[in-house]
């Protein structure tokens, strides 16, 4: 839609929004039974969004809804139209399941290729994907998008850091897609653990995904890896990477408004904020067939950048901030809900520990989820081995369900006072 006038683009967005809503209200009981933000039932027959602004009358979709309607309750097409099913950890014991029609996959492929092209990636590039298992879905989308612009893709495979570096060097990788945490880990390893000189690498582009990265750490990465960094924003639920992406100016991320409508709302009241103010990013999918997200609360803190970008891209830009509006932890780009961690611990132990706390920590070069659990009467055992075995079980369960490395530490009550 780049060659359209602003009026024409708005019209196309309205048409896409209306047909998305018509399908969602016709096919998905969850949407049919929802009430508007004033608490009134929506008359599906007469319901009409007449402009993009009217979108703000609709209720929000939250992560908890994705778990409540597990597995297929939010699909807007029959299962036989679904060609791919993705799973992501959600906020309940039930994971988030999203489906894709063939058309949806093509849309994602196009979205990813648009973002990669904006990062100057071409068919001449060798593109390596290195993402945690929790972001495996994004790995597939990046592979498809990069292949569509005929780049040579080294798909996402779980490798040790030494192997990653070997591939990076020997395969002459020019583009690396990874999280800021993994990129720092890699840079740190080059700096200390090997005799590899970054100048020996062919790396020129580092696509950072999954979590925001400030200017300072990016500059450091660019210096350490001799590459230019580009930030991409995505959702693990839809899933998709590259919903928003940086252009050559690196001044904010362009939201792909061909496929998503972004809104920024007040975190407390949910009301739309004036342009330029910081709030929660809300996304509505315009072209998704199987799994329409309507006013989805992302939990990400952002603000619209008001002035137009000199790159010529007509999409609105956002500034994406590190703090979140919810209590999710971002570990290697994977969103981990604290409530979910507790649910899995309760499931494994059979009870809720007396005290606990969760945070992101660094183990050597790896970011991981650190869980502190208090040792009290319910947990205490005079057999250390039994206790260790139990904790290993909890660690494995968490790792399996959340997709990030987990370290559990048993602590005495007073340890919590200073840390949690």
């Amino acid at each position: 839609m780049h060659n359209l006038s602003p009026e024409e683009r708005t019209q196309i967005q309205l048409e896409r929004l209306q047909s998305t809503l018509n399908r969602a209200y016709r096919n998905v009981p969850f949407h049919q039974n929802r009430k508007n933000r004033k608490g009134e039932a929506i008359d599906i027959e007469r319901f009409q969004i007449e402009s993009i602004k009217d979108l703000s009358n609709l209720p929000f979709m939250e992560r908890k809804h994705l778990g409540e309607y597990y597995p297929y309750g939010l699909f807007a097409v029959p299962l036989r139209d679904i060609v791919r099913i993705h799973t992501a950890s959600g906020t309940t014991l039930n994971p988030t399941v999203s489906g894709y029609t063939r058309h949806d996959l093509l849309v994602w492929q196009e979205m990813v290729s648009t973002a990669l092209t904006a990062s100057k990636i071409t068919a001449h590039d060798i593109l390596q994907i290195n993402l945690d298992p929790g972001l495996a879905n994004w790995g597939r989308d990046y592979k498809d998008g990069a292949e569509s612009i005929e780049a040579s893709v080294i798909p996402n495979t779980h490798l040790s850091i030494e192997k990653q570096l070997k591939v990076l060097k020997d395969y002459k990788t020019s583009v690396l897609i990874t999280t800021p945490a993994s990129a720092s880990q890699l840079a740190g390893h080059i700096g200390s653990g090997t005799d590899l000189n970054p100048a020996d690498l062919n790396l020129k582009t580092l696509i950072l995904v999954g979590e925001p990265a400030g200017l300072e750490p990016r500059n450091l990465l660019e210096e350490q890896l001799h590459a230019t960094t580009w930030l991409h924003y995505g959702l693990s639920e839809v899933p998709g990477p590259a919903i928003a992406f940086e252009c050559e100016n690196h001044k904010g991320l362009h939201v792909n408004e061909d496929n998503f409508i972004p809104e920024i709302v007040d975190i407390e009241t949910g009301e739309l904020l004036p342009e330029g103010e910081t709030g929660e990013l809300i996304l509505t999918a315009l072209t998704t067939r199987a799994f329409p997200l309507i006013r989805f609360k992302t939990g990400d803190r952002a603000r619209f950048i008001q002035d137009t970008c000199s790159c010529g891209c007509p999409f609105k830009r956002i500034e994406w901030f590190e703090e979140r509006t919810d209590d999710m932890l971002l570990i290697n780009g994977v969103k981990v809900h604290q409530k979910l961690i507790l649910l899995h611990i309760e499931d494994a132990l059979g009870f809720v520990p007396g005290r606990y706390c969760f945070f992101k920590s660094q183990q050597g070069e790896t970011s991981c989820l650190e869980v502190w659990i208090t040792v009290d009467d319910t947990l205490f055992s005079d057999e250390i081995k039994a206790l260790e075995k139990l904790m290993k079980t909890v660690e494995d369960k968490l790792h399996e369900n959340i997709g990030v490395p987990v370290s559990i530490r048993l602590k005495e009550k007073h340890s919590f006072q200073n840390h949690c």
Binding site: Q11, I12, S19, N22, N27, G73, V77, H103
Partner: protein
């Protein structure tokens, strides 16, 4: 070129079009498909000023068409080929074509009529042979050609057609659709309403799927052609049966 926003049309208390938005850009061939009773013809009639009391916006080349009567809309540059051809049966082919140029005569632009007649005869050579034959005696395919020719005589910038393939043999349908492609290639903008979804999508640039008065899908015609939902929307099957087994 044509922008429709939130169009609602009523037949008494029945809402036939329930807030449809669509756009046609200059030089495009757009198809609007859907099952029987989905509101396709009502939509076209609304654009051509044949439905009173509609709500929403219809603008053509930045001018609102709301409240204009059909002759005024033809003068603005929109010509319609109605469903079932509706040729003037007792009149000759030639007179039917000249009637299509009614607004051109009104503008005192007689000099164009002869040239346009020649253009239509070249487009559909059979009409030259049938020039003095009563239109009611023409075959279905010939009548369709006449209806298109008659609409072209008004020198439209947007040609809208309502089910041009209806009741025609496959070979004739092909011929009619080929003609539309040819006209589009010459720069004419076309909005085509068809039940023959496959045929319409094959020749159009973009398409919209209308279902019970609402647009449920839109996109590039090549995408819609491959879409399984289109088949169902076109066939108008009940969706409930497809959702069995959903949690």
């Amino acid at each position: 070129m044509l922008l429709v926003k939130n169009l609602k049309c009523y037949y008494g208390r029945i809402v036939a079009i329930k807030g449809v938005s669509m756009s046609v850009r200059k030089g495009e061939l757009i198809s609007l498909i859907g099952a029987n009773g989905s509101g396709k013809s009502t939509f076209l009639q609304a654009i051509c000023g044949l439905i009173p009391g509609l709500e929403g916006e219809i603008t053509f080349e930045d001018v609102s068409l709301k409240g204009l009567d059909p002759p005024a809309i033809v003068q603005k540059g929109i010509s319609m080929v109605p469903e079932g051809r509706l040729v003037f049966a007792p009149l000759t082919t030639l007179d039917n074509l000249k009637l299509g140029a009614y607004t051109i005569y009104r503008k005192k632009l007689h000099k164009y009529v002869k040239k346009d007649l020649e253009m239509v005869m070249e487009l559909f050579p059979i009409l030259r042979k049938r020039a003095y034959q009563q239109a009611g005696t023409l075959s279905g395919g010939e009548q369709q050609m006449l209806a298109i020719g008659r609409a072209l005589m008004a020198r439209p910038r947007l040609l809208v057609l309502d089910e041009p393939s209806m009741g025609l043999a496959p070979l004739l349908v092909e011929k009619i659709l080929e003609t539309l492609v040819m006209l589009r290639n010459k720069g004419l903008t076309i909005l085509l309403v068809e039940q023959n979804a496959r045929a319409a999508l094959k020749i159009s640039d973009r398409g919209y799927v209308l279902e019970t008065g609402k647009i449920v899908l839109q996109g590039a015609s090549s995408d819609l052609l491959a879409d399984v939902e289109v088949k169902r929307a076109y066939l108008g099957k009940d969706y409930a049966e497809f959702y069995e087994g959903r949690a």
